[in-house]
């Protein structure tokens, strides 16, 4: 036993599909990669509350209103589970939020697109959550215990999100002419941005190799993207809508669709802050945080006073 290094123990656990826990020794790269990945994921959930939250006050029925509220709330909850998972790696929520608010941290490019119509709420639930779920299901088996446990909880809760999105799309696609046009328009605008969610092509994905080795990721960006297209096409067809890709074609040989890649130049620009809503999203988060400062200070002051009172009693 004496000759076995920390590194060997760590590698041994990975090899045996065992979980790494917060107090276990881990390579610094692994810790850093995890903090980056988990916090980006958390930021995405929190920023993701905004485009959908945009339609809460305009939801067209009382049922739609409570469903959307519950869904946006879940996203906040998921952000929270993920922040607490990241915190077990020795970084504080304050630091993580600060990285988000100053624009230092990244989050999913998808949430920098605007939600322009009610159909976008359907499209986001159906396509964006659909794509997110494919990533998340795989992450339930990631090697870091707190991350994996957070993902299990998230996947359980997420299961209604995609369904509610598709339900909105069916109401629209089988509704009036205006509604169907609204649905097609939303699909046209969200199709390529959703495909970008899986990240750049494998050939250009700098962080993938380690992530696969460490079981923080278990399928490549291109594999996931292919699977997403394959499973989504028939859902589009059922709605009587058209995938906005004239190159989309079934390829018998690979048992999957050939399709047009999203515009990676646009992707890079959105990631670096030039998307249609990057500034609005960050400004909204910063405003909420700044407006909340006196609230947090009051709670802190009150707690301090009360613990002094408890101590004196």
């Amino acid at each position: 036993m004496e000759n076995i290094s920390f590194e060997d123990v760590f590698e041994g656990k990975l090899a045996k599909n065992e979980m790494i826990e917060p107090k276990d020794w881990m390579p610094e790269n692994y810790r850093k990669h995890l903090i980056r990945q988990i916090s980006q994921h958390a930021h995405s959930e929190i920023i993701g509350m905004l485009p959908e939250g945009n339609w809460i006050t305009r939801a067209p029925s009382l049922r739609a209103k409570v469903v959307l509220l519950a869904k946006v709330q879940d996203e906040g909850g998921h952000g929270l589970y993920l922040y607490t998972a990241a915190e077990t790696l020795g970084v504080s929520r304050d630091e993580l939020l600060n990285n988000l608010h100053t624009g230092k941290a990244k989050y999913s490019s998808i949430f920098n697109y605007p939600t322009l119509t009610w159909a976008d709420i359907g499209a986001v639930g159906w396509l964006v959550d659909g794509a997110a779920i494919m990533n998340q299901v795989m992450l339930q088996r990631s090697s870091y215990g707190p991350y994996s446990r957070a993902m299990v909880r998230i996947c359980k809760e997420e299961s209604f999100h995609q369904r509610q999105g598709y339900e909105i799309m069916t109401h629209l696609a089988f509704g009036t002419k205006d509604q169907k046009e609204m649905a097609q328009d939303a699909l046209n605008r969200w199709w390529y941005p959703t495909m970008m969610m899986f990240g750049p092509p494998d050939s250009e994905s700098p962080n993938s190799e380690n992530a696969m080795k460490w079981r923080i990721k278990r399928e490549t960006n291109d594999q996931l993207r292919q699977r997403f297209v394959d499973q989504t096409v028939k859902q589009v067809e059922y709605l009587g809508l058209i995938v906005p890709d004239e190159n989309l074609k079934w390829n018998e040989a690979k048992n999957g669709y050939d399709f047009t890649e999203p515009n990676w130049v646009e992707f890079k620009n959105i990631i670096s802050g030039n998307g249609p809503c990057n500034k609005e999203r960050l400004a909204a988060r910063n405003k909420a945080h700044d407006d909340g400062k006196w609230v947090r200070e009051a709670a802190q002051a009150f707690a301090k006073k009360r613990s002094e009172i408890y101590a004196a009693a």
């Binding site: 939250g53 809460i56 067209p60 409570v66 509220l69 709330q73 909105i168 407006d291 006196w294 009051a298």
Partner: protein, 252 residues
């Protein structure tokens, strides 16, 4: 006025108060002062919007003219809304949102206690369910009132200012008219004088515990029982009702 007409009016009043308050609170989702509280307030919003749905469903049934709860929520004009004015005021800062919520939660707490004894079984049923929810809301918002009142100087001043400005809208909650008179005789409606006594005692104790003071000699606003509102309601409705009005044939 028949009992049916009075009952319809009465349920609209309760349903609209929940609907408009839920609408205002929902503006906070995604913008709360910190993540945990964002989710907590959204839970309250969900309860209140759910209650609005239940009451309006029942109102539609009592009216019996083929309208649904969504028709009532999305296709009436501002003069046909009977929510208390306090619910339509802008959220303001978090102190104002909390202060308004405490005042309304406390009203609902005693109101639903009485309403759950109503001879009208449907109303009593919704009230029993809502009472459990509101008991928690009141606990949550009371704790915040105390934190603000006895927190920092800044929070104390903000929440005191909120109370001072909201107070003029509190009397409306207890106003009674011919609807109440008729329905109290039937054992359906709640005597709001009874609720007022309990509310005043509860609020004055809570305000004192929070090191705050209740504003004195305030001139009270009135109007919502007749469908007269502040300037804010029409804007709320313009936003909330936009889709069903632009696409009148659509189902969502």
């Amino acid at each position: 006025m028949t009992t049916q007409e009075a009952l319809f009016q009465y349920i609209l009043r309760i349903g609209d108060t929940n609907l408009i308050l839920g609408q205002r609170l929902s503006e906070w989702t995604g913008h709360g002062p910190f993540l945990e509280e964002d989710l907590a307030l959204t839970n309250i919003t969900l309860d209140i919007t759910g209650a609005a749905k239940s009451f309006l469903e029942y109102a539609a049934k009592v009216e019996d003219k083929g309208r649904s709860e969504d028709d009532l929520a999305f296709l009436r004009n501002d003069r046909q809304f009977f929510n208390a004015q306090i619910t339509e005021l802008p959220n303001g800062d978090y102190a104002r949102t909390i202060a308004r919520q405490v005042l309304v939660d406390c009203f609902d707490y005693y109101f639903y206690q009485e309403l759950s004894k109503s001879n009208d079984e449907t109303l009593a049923g919704i009230a029993q369910k809502s009472l459990k929810e509101v008991t928690y809301h009141l606990r949550h918002t009371s704790a915040w009132l105390e934190r603000f009142g006895d927190g920092t100087e800044e929070s104390h001043n903000k929440v005191q200012l909120a109370l001072n400005e909201l107070w003029q809208y509190t009397n409306e909650l207890f106003e009674m008219n011919e609807v109440d008179e008729l329905l109290i005789k039937e054992g359906i409606a709640v005597d709001l004088n009874l609720v007022k006594t309990k509310w005043e005692k509860h609020i004055s104790e809570l305000v004192e515990k929070s090191t705050l003071t209740i504003p004195q000699n305030v001139f009270m606003q009135t109007g919502s029982r007749k469908g007269i509102h502040t300037e804010h309601l029409a804007f709320i409705l313009a936003e909330m009702q936009a889709l069903p009005r632009i696409y009148p044939d659509a189902k969502w």
